[in-house]
Symmetry: C2
Subunit: 392 residues, 2 copies
């Protein structure tokens, strides 16, 4: 019987972390070993905190370290992943970081099981066929409209049929300044491209601030306005959705379990639910949201701003859905994220990408290239070492 023998967390970082909205500056790579199989995954954000949640001392019955529910467990079939996933949620209920930690572990377990069964993960999820996705290049707004225009032109010239701009100065200055940015993005992209705008929760729950940007978004034929508000501000979302006309709302990257995503679908009036596999609880939780989105006729889209390993993980949950076509494709990765895998997604002549027909996730870490990013970390409690950077 195959059992989980080791969970190793590798904290990787660029030599210098800048105070910019770029989530590819560090990474937490997860390796799970069970018998003759190895699986790889990635957790979203703050590697040190996630490491602490893997190894922390127990606080009480439902506040155990995540490792306690994973190490030694049987991993032969899909049901084993579901059992481990549920155990982690129950046994680490009172630990907020749990869902990040579980995410990378869950992804690594699906990768491992796919390899053990010699099939892609999407087959294990019940999809017989995989459909191409249309990636949108995900960019930060430029410091000036001209910069934004140039980024859009670049994306278009690289073959992207869709571009998303977000964060940066958007929403922080005047309505006019935002208008100029959106107009520049449309101009750079050309009239046929799919243009998306991400407000990065800048308006909290202030509906009227968001409303003031609707006119220009509609004029520039923006397909969706993403995250005008905090993930939990369902009423603000819903109020805006009633008046947003052709501009649809998108959100959900902040969801760290499937319930939060379902609530956005049920009560926020969004038409695109965006799920980060590295945060929501891995592929298991992503697939539950996919199924719910299909039932409720909402579009599923991945949220990914890190490596192509994370991108592969995030596409699995909706790989077999022909009508859910858009996918986020990080356009400006740091070298670390690029070096993270041997394989990379390549766009075809139609500006589309497709998951490979390879066992597991089909992407594997380039360990030799990653050594130089490895961060040495050490956690000691009462003289006992609970964590030290493992050997690759």
């Amino acid at each position: 019987m195959r059992r989980i023998e080791a969970i190793d967390f590798f904290y990787l970082a660029m030599p210098e972390i800048l105070d910019i909205s770029d989530g590819s500056q560090d990474a937490l790579l997860v390796r799970i070993v069970a018998g003759d199989q190895v699986g790889w995954g990635e957790c979203e954000a703050s590697p040190l905190v996630t490491i602490a949640s893997l190894v922390c001392p127990m606080s009480h019955h439902v506040c155990k370290p995540v490792s306690a529910s994973v190490l030694g467990e049987r991993i032969e079939r899909v049901e084993d992943i579901l059992r481990i996933h549920n155990q982690v949620r129950v046994n680490s209920m009172d630990l907020l970081q749990t869902d990040h930690t579980l995410s990378g572990i869950d992804v690594a377990l699906w990768d491992l099981l796919g390899k053990a069964h010699h099939v892609p993960v999407y087959n294990l999820l019940g999809y017989c066929q995989v459909y191409p996705k249309t990636p949108y290049a995900s960019y930060l707004f430029g410091g000036t409209p001209q910069e934004t225009l140039e980024k859009a032109q670049k994306a278009s010239s690289e073959g992207f049929r869709a571009v998303k701009f977000g964060w940066g100065p958007f929403g922080r200055e005047s309505v006019e300044a935002d208008n100029d940015q959106v107009v520049a993005a449309r101009e750079g992209l050309g009239k046929d491209g799919i243009l998306l705008v991400d407000a990065g929760t800048i308006w909290g729950e202030n509906v009227s601030a968001a409303e003031k940007r609707l006119k220009i978004l509609e004029e520039c034929e923006v397909t969706w306005l993403e995250e005008p508000f905090h993930t939990g501000a369902l009423k603000a979302y819903n109020d805006l959705a009633r008046i947003s006309g052709k501009v649809k709302l998108a959100g959900g990257e902040g969801a760290h379990n499937e319930y939060i995503a379902q609530q956005m679908i049920d009560y926020a009036g969004i038409e695109y639910i965006q799920i980060d596999t590295g945060r929501i609880g891995g592929i298991t939780a992503s697939k539950r949201v996919t199924d719910y989105a299909v039932k409720k006729e909402v579009n599923f889209v991945n949220h990914t701003f890190t490596s192509h390993l994370a991108l592969s993980a995030s596409l699995q949950a909706y790989a077999g859905l022909r009508d859910h076509v858009l996918c986020e494709y990080p356009g400006q990765l740091q070298q670390l994220a690029d070096d993270l895998t041997f394989e990379h997604f390549e766009m075809d002549a139609n500006g589309q990408i497709q998951l490979p027909e390879k066992p597991g996730l089909g992407f594997s870490p380039n360990i030799a290239a990653l050594r130089k990013y490895l961060v040495e970390a050490r956690i000691e409690v009462n003289g006992k070492t609970l964590y030290q950077t493992p050997v690759f």
Copy 2:
């Protein structure tokens, strides 16, 4: 001008942590120093992970360590707390543990500001008068109905007018076994006492499992059934609320921001919203939920299972509301939680407790008694010590 000079996290633990549903086995005590003032607070659950989130290296623009938004900040007025609170949420958005960490810091800031202004925290929150609360003794169900009966008798003989039983075997075995437990609780408490039952999310989102227990709960005049489901399972809550008759639903301790609590109020059909100040984001977030609960005619109740410092913090948000009378009062604290403060709440002859008219929270740590519980922890990243246990 008074600025925050130090944030110290003290990890305290009983010599042995048992695998039981008792959250008072460890504690994270927060000390904030600003000028000549000191404030104290407490964070819920998993001290090591929360420490990591205070000191972790920045991952990107909105994934900074919590300390980055607090240290050096001005702290003179209530508006300063609100500003710091918001900064933490924005700057550490992508770090799930943030709300736990913020909770203890927020509580300590209110304590500090109350002391600086020589007024209780509830005055700073706008309450001129404070009303007594009726504490319910919060117990785990006994291993047998007889044990439960004896616990209820003990609570009653100690003057408690209300008792809550939860966790333990409840919901894990047959309906008959659960019936016997509830009958025993009612018998031990006597017919006039307020009896509450806590299912500890045992049924996930399985409404029919919960429904099978409604009959006995109604027969035994149970005032509320708490947490039948996961915090996010709003639809399951709402479906059960429609058929639960005289037994009202309670929930919300899992809420780690005010939005989650608002959603339970809006969509779950609960009549009691239970807020843990050590998890939801401190007194600032608790007060927002209180205001919303009043508006929506839902009862506010604290959730507290640790020290009397935490209990004082948790009562502040609804101290001035005459009609919201119940409060959770941990009935079986570990010695650590008892030793944590010099002062303790005492029930009066009416079985009620009241916040003291003292500056800040009115409760202060018994440092000499706490030294023996101090856990030595150390976190190093790339050879640099990010955390080591501070000196009391």
